[in-house]
Symmetry: C2
Subunit: 207 residues, 2 copies
């Protein structure tokens, strides 16, 4: 459905995996808060409780670490969205799927905030080779939304005169911008989604 691969897990011991995850958790938060260029490997090492050189036991470069962290951010979003859509009954319309996808997207942003924020905030500032691969993931995720919206139009649920590209970017934009909200104002993904959904689809749906 959404074609975003999870970075392959090569054979590692449980301890190695736990340390790796700790490094990535700290990296995600630091990249999110300070940006890619302003976060040094020494920052990350200190936050994880080790020395800078030791990071190279787990990652071969800053770029590899960043790519894995940022790509995991989008992966989590895609995974939640997939779950939410697949949980729908067979009778679900394409618009039902859009709504479920919105909830899934918001759920991932709230649950895995450090990773998803790091992706959204650092995507543009990461070295070109990483950005290229992250871009492919984004396009795959975009294509999924494109399909949902197109199906909605084809089945007569969304007015045919609606600009599908604008609708897609508007939805993704308002969803992603929730990361810039004061954290206290969110409410649950379902509450937030119901507000967004009513806002947009009250008029966009054919009557």
């Amino acid at each position: 459905m959404i074609n975003i691969e999870k970075p392959e897990e090569t054979q590692r011991t449980a301890i190695q995996q736990r340390t790796r995850k700790a490094i990535m958790d700290k990296s995600a938060r630091l990249f999110r808060d300070q940006g890619y260029g302003s976060t040094s490997l020494r920052d990350i090492a200190a936050a994880t409780g080790m020395k800078a050189g030791s990071l190279y036991y787990h990652f071969s470069s800053k770029e590899e670490l960043a790519e894995e962290v940022l790509s995991l951010g989008l992966f989590h979003v895609a995974e939640r969205v997939k779950e939410a859509v697949e949980a729908l009954p067979e009778t679900a319309t394409p618009v039902d799927k859009i709504r479920a996808a919105m909830v899934g997207h918001l759920t991932a942003l709230l649950e895995k905030g450090d990773y998803t924020s790091a992706n959204i905030r650092c995507y543009n500032h990461v070295p070109a080779p990483i950005k290229k691969r992250l871009k492919a993931d984004r396009e795959s995720y975009d294509a999924f939304w494109e399909g949902l919206i197109q199906s909605s139009v084809e089945s007569g649920l969304i007015r045919p005169d609606v600009d599908q590209i604008s609708l897609r970017y508007a939805l993704i934009g308002m969803l992603n911008w929730t990361l810039e909200w004061p954290a206290t104002k969110h409410g649950s993904p379902e509450e937030l989604d119901s507000k967004f959904f009513d806002m947009v689809f009250g008029n966009t749906l054919a009557s």
Copy 2:
């Protein structure tokens, strides 16, 4: 109306001002593309056609330069929005003002893309003292939208059950996310606004 001060212009010769602007133009683009931390003063100097040390003839630090560039980004948005709203006839409703503000916001994003993108993309990654001042500007701009939306609700043009905070962030989010669009898909600010406006306010307006 919107209380965002333009950085004061101390007395400078015409040539100094032109060089300053050249430095800021290049900085805006580099900050936007590479991020604050990954953009060195040597990058900026090279792009402007001078040596790194010479920048200190115009700016006393990287932080000062960044603050001026980023704050100008939001200033331009506020200025365009102000113009657009003030150009309305006296009979204009609060919702008319929202629509005009949307056009103004989009116009600024398209016209001054380097500055506005640099603000949006680097805001979170800039040193704390700068961020604090930029945050005050954002809050002032936010308050302006809050007022427009509240007036719209009070005059019965927007349904009273609409969550005003969600509406405000949703609007700003979809507007700002246009910076992430492939550039070719924009169309004019007016075209884009008409799509966004219809999308949101078809249902949000009281019937």
